[in-house]
């Protein structure tokens, strides 16, 4: 079970990455340290999808790309109605997919005022 999500910080130049890379995009160095990726973020764009892939029992799900204050942008699920670009969301880590004998964890964003 994974209840934390991480940014991968280049130990040489400090550049942040998510997801994991094996060479820094800025300086080319090979080693990274894990930094907690949490807190508030801003919705860059979003969608509500009605034709989910096999493995999801819901009629629809909302997804978004959000930007953290540290500049990193990531994809995740969003649990909110009346989404708007530019709105603030808070980060949580939860089950994003129920697999056979294994759950998958990832970002689930919710409005800050909930």
């Amino acid at each position: 079970m994974q209840l934390k999500m991480y940014a991968y910080k280049c130990t040489c130049c400090g550049e942040l990455h998510h997801p994991k890379h094996y060479a820094c995009r800025k300086c080319g160095a090979r080693s990274f340290e894990e930094i907690d990726l949490e807190g508030e973020a801003t919705v860059v764009t979003y969608t509500k999808v009605y034709n989910l892939p096999e493995g999801y029992m819901k009629p629809y799900l909302s997804f978004g790309i959000v930007k953290f204050d540290n500049g990193l942008t990531v994809s995740g699920q969003i649990e909110a109605e009346n989404l708007k670009t530019g709105m603030k969301v808070k980060t949580s880590v939860g089950v994003i997919k129920e697999g056979v004998g294994k759950d998958y964890y990832g970002f689930i964003f919710r409005p800050v005022d909930e």
């Binding site: 860059v44 969608t47 096999e54 493995g55 994809s75």
Partner: protein, 398 residues
């Protein structure tokens, strides 16, 4: 470098394949291309190499090693054979590798066949299959899909450039109108713009798939195969028809995780692939007479028409509104019907685009013919734009 051309083309009717196995479908397109080129499949046939483009035959059809199977089915042994996988850009990648094989001098004649048989699985499984090309941890596991990214991209484009849902419907109707004149297109019914965009009940027949994208803004799921015979231009007289020259090929990659892109409305791999193809061909965007752009989602036709230099960034939808991308307009786009109406069997699409351009440049496009087309551009878009191949064909003057 040695010049390479296209001597023959073949194409199955896209839609639902009911005449047998995956290799049967590939064979049908291949035989048509071989016949078109005038190649007899007996000893001394002269086909040195076969490339098959398919994203998922191993996953959804439970068959691997399809290129080896196809060579034998066609009795083209002992030709070399490989299967090429580059997601939805597999087709153009296979054409590129065929080009490289001939340009290098290693081969004189290469058969390239692209195909996908997707309608053997449910829509849910099919959506999952296509989504496997996304980043496994940062995207796929979330339930994110290609339509999801297209929806998010469309929203950004709408907010930044003023593109409307109606604009996407205009592009869709234009491609459906073109497909009526293409016998191998999946869909031969034209939706009315009023019914899918303007009527108060439009949302009933044109519901959201991935907001703000609606059903008529998204390509269907299709089976199909397309084939081309590539040849060395210095051996052009071996073939039944005068080959159409491959004037330029460009390819570029972008971040796997879409969220990592610096400017989320840019399709940098499209821009760079097209630029490389123009440079190789010694041509500019305004030299292109006809284009096949990868409109898996209608917003992509708009964005790609800008990235390849036909229109300024943010102006593609205005050009579509003004009819500039219709047959007879400034630059006709997706005369075949595009992915929207011709269909999008993933591995077939890149090859199918080349087939359409060859037909246009030969003057064989019937009711969808672009008058005196001499140059054509195809953009085959893999992933959500993380691997893009652009190809330019040119008809040589008599």
């Amino acid at each position: 470098m040695r010049e390479v051309g296209i001597a023959g083309v073949g194409h199955t009717k896209f839609g639902k394949w009911t005449e047998g196995t995956f290799v049967d479908m590939l064979s049908k397109a291949a035989v048509e291309a071989l016949d078109d080129a005038g190649i007899r499949t007996v000893k001394g046939h002269g086909v040195d190499q076969v490339f098959v483009a398919s994203m998922g035959s191993g996953m959804i059809n439970r068959q691997s090693g399809v290129a080896s199977a196809l060579v034998d089915t066609l009795n083209l042994r002992p030709a070399m054979a490989e299967t090429i996988e580059n997601g939805p850009a597999s087709g153009a990648s296979a054409v590129k590798l065929g080009y490289m094989a001939i340009a290098s001098g290693m081969c004189n004649c290469v058969l390239v066949v692209g195909g996908e048989m997707m309608r053997v699985v449910s829509g849910w499984e099919g959506t999952d299959f296509v989504a496997t090309m996304l980043h496994p941890e940062a995207e796929y596991n979330y339930g994110l899909t290609l339509p999801a990214f297209a929806g998010m991209f469309t929203r950004l484009y709408m907010e930044k450039y003023g593109v409307t849902e109606r604009d996407l419907s205009i592009v869709s109707v234009k491609n459906h109108e073109n497909a009526v004149h293409n016998p191998v297109a999946h869909i031969h019914v034209v939706p009315s713009l009023y019914a899918i965009a303007d009527d108060e009940d439009a949302h009933v027949i044109n519901p959201y798939v991935a907001e703000p994208l609606r059903m008529y803004h998204v390509c269907p799921v299709s089976d199909g195969a397309a084939a081309v015979v590539l040849c060395a231009m210095d051996q052009a007289d071996r073939f039944a028809k005068k080959p159409v020259k491959i004037a330029g090929i460009g390819q570029a990659t972008d971040t796997h995780s879409v969220a990592e892109r610096e400017v989320p409305t840019d399709l940098l791999a499209v821009r760079l692939a097209a630029q490389r193809a123009y440079d190789m061909a010694g041509l500019k965007p305004q030299d292109i007479d006809v284009a096949e752009l990868h409109d898996a989602f209608q917003i992509l036709e708009v964005a790609e028409s800008e990235e390849v230099g036909f229109f300024e960034k943010g102006q593609g939808h205005i050009a579509a509104r003004n009819g500039e991308t219709r047959i007879g307009g400034k630059i006709p786009i997706n005369t075949s019907g595009g992915l929207k109406a011709k269909g999008h069997p993933l591995g077939a699409t890149g090859v199918s685009q080349i087939v359409e351009l060859v037909r246009q440049l030969r003057g064989e496009a019937g009711g969808r013919q672009v008058q005196d087309a001499k140059t054509g551009l195809a953009v085959n878009f893999g992933g959500f734009g993380n691997n893009v191949v652009a190809t330019i064909l040119a008809r040589e003057e008599e």
